[in-house]
Amino acid sequence: MTAQLYLDGVTRSFDGFKAINGLSLSVDKGELRAVIGPNGAGKTTMMDIITGKTRPDGGEVLWNMATDLTRMDEASVANLGIGRKFQKPTVFETHSVEDNIRLALKAPRGVFASLFYRSSVAEEAKVTALLDRIRLTHLRTEQAANLSHGQKQWLEIGMLLAQEPQLLLVDEPAAGMTDAETMETAELLKSIAGERTVIVVEHDMDFVRALDCRVTVLHQGSVLAEGSLDHVSAREDVIEVYLGR
């Protein structure tokens, strides 16, 4: 099986500080992968590099072993089929919940395409189905600014799904959620994987356990350990840098 996302020897420093230091990672198509690691380990920076926000100083980032992502900007990477959820939930506050989803729906992204765009019945059905899936149907005409933190997280996940990406990068989705919501989120992400590839960054160990998937431990910008949660959490070095604290 070939990797859908392949990072090899990626480095990136900020003012001499190596935030990413020889990072190598390979994720298969349809896989669900959890990335854990202490604060400042470089998890968000890794996503910045994959999505074209940050250019690495060196190393390879390949999409389907063919396309070099390091040369592309955010919009091009997104249009390849890579979607991203931010660590801090980011939705369009002054738009209604449904318009947030509509804007995200997979469709041509050009100015003139948008100017003359008319939504079809099929697309409206997709919006309705998605709202149902993220449980925001009752708030569909509400301004997104009025949602709770957890609801915004869900809305952003819904927007991500609306884009129909092949790979979803999800940065700390459970932050600000109740325990019940956290578990629901884990279920949602598990249901997405398979059809799509999902990489989740998370701190919450119960959440990671619920994901029940392969885990990569990041530390000081490179991979410290990889394997099942039980495997990595049994390792001395992992306990020392992360779990023991």
């Binding site: 999505t51 926000k53 900007d73 955010e74 919009a75 997104a78 249009n79 979607g83 991203r84 931010f86 980011t90 939705v91 369009f92 506050e93 002054t94 738009h95 318009d99 509509r102 804007l103 995200a104 992204r109 050009g110 100015v111 948008s114 100017l115 003359f116 765009y117 009752h138 708030l139 509400e142 009025n146 949602l147 709770s148 933190h149 957890g150 609801q151 927007m159 884009q163 600000g176 959620m177 109740t178």
Partner: protein, 366 residues
């Protein structure tokens, strides 16, 4: 259609239509009759409508896309100069120096041939196209560089202000070939109609009103389209929009260019009605004043921007006539008042009195 002409837009267009019909009629009535209006008010009203159009242009890019341009006066002035150049060419041999080839100021400077960039301006259609194209092209090139380098917020405002200031200095120079300090004036007629004839003035006024209505509807159509929603999305969360695959700079350049062309149109309509265009129109303070109009009327409302412009310029006309020293203080005071007390402008004030539709119970924010 309901999206395009909502209640506010409908009321405003209806009022505009009434004024456009009634003012010319009133201006032709015998002096002394009850509804008579002095005919000099027609170009004055026309001038106000040009400012309203300029405010709508700025609101399109500031109110919806969050691009606070402090240089829209420059696009207005460029449109004005394009029209002014045509009006200069129409003077022909009737100038003081009676030179059929050269405008007076060129003869005065001792030039013996028309600079290349004046070619074509003897044609009205050419000048009309240039009045839109020159501001549009400048905005396109300027925006392309600025938005591609991701200049935004305060930095963008500052460089737009620098742009209009640079043009102010350039247009002051005689060597530039735009009449220097004095600008372009002493116009006679347009398309063969005398600019001082009441009928020409009425025609220009009506044309301005139609342009204002058309631009309001175009701006509204843009803002209610999906592209308009993308613009608001960029304003709210630019990086989210990028990671969704929208090329943000294309949207910003597009709206900035359309807005600049509307400003150019306003300038082109302004010049024949006031009879002069000079470098003073590039003054940075002019561009800032446009921002005050939009803020006062209600940013992101289009109709509000037009109303804001009309209110402020009417106030300005009155104050500068009665208390000439007070105007700048009044402008500053207005700006402070709007910022502190009316964050959504006059239209926002109206909304406060509107009965609210029941909102679904909000859940407590976590």
């Amino acid at each position: 259609m309901r999206k395009l002409i909502d209640l506010r837009m409908g009321l405003f267009l209806a009022a505009l239509f009434l004024v456009t019909v009634l003012a010319p009629v009133a201006s032709t009535l015998q002096a002394g009759s009850t509804f008579a209006m002095p005919s000099y008010l027609i170009p004055l009203l026309g001038k106000y409508l040009c400012y309203a159009l300029l405010a709508v242009a700025l609101d399109l890019c500031w109110g919806y896309a969050g691009i606070l341009s402090l240089g829209h006066g420059a696009f207005f002035a460029l449109g004005g100069y394009a029209m002014g150049m045509h009006l200069m060419r129409e003077i022909g041999a009737r100038g003081v120096y009676a030179n059929p080839e050269l405008p007076d100021f060129m003869v005065f400077l001792g030039w013996d041939e028309l600079p290349w960039f004046w070619y074509g301006f003897s044609s009205f259609p050419f000048a009309a196209v240039m009045a839109l194209l020159v501001p549009g092209l400048l905005a396109f090139v300027f925006g392309w560089f600025a938005f591609r380098s991701r200049v935004s917020g305060v930095y963008l405002s500052i460089i737009t202000q620098a742009l209009t200031f640079a043009l102010l200095l350039a247009f002051f120079r005689n060597e530039m070939g735009f009449g220097g300090n004095n600008g372009l004036t002493d116009f006679r007629d347009v398309l063969g109609f005398s600019l001082s004839a009441p009928s020409t003035r009425i025609a220009l006024f009506v044309l301005t009103a139609i342009s204002l209505a058309a631009c309001l509807l175009i701006a509204k159509a843009i803002t209610v389209s999906k592209a308009g929603k993308v613009l608001v999305a960029v304003r709210d969360a630019e990086s989210r929009t990028r990671f969704m695959g929208y090329r943000v700079e294309s949207y910003s350049v597009f709206v900035f260019t359309v807005s600049a062309m509307m400003a150019g149109l306003a300038g082109a309509l302004y010049v024949p009605q006031v009879g002069i265009i000079n470098p003073g129109e590039f003054a940075p303070a002019n561009s800032i004043e446009i921002v005050v109009w939009v803020a006062l009327g209600g940013r992101g409302t289009l109709v509000g921007a037009a109303i804001g412009a009309l209110v402020v310029v009417a106030l300005k006309s009155w104050l500068t006539a009665t208390f000439p020293d007070l105007w700048l203080f009044a402008l500053g005071g207005l700006f402070i008042l709007v910022t502190l007390a009316l964050p959504n402008g006059l239209l926002g004030l109206l909304d406060r009195f509107k009965p609210r539709r029941a909102k679904p119970a909000q859940e407590a924010t976590a």
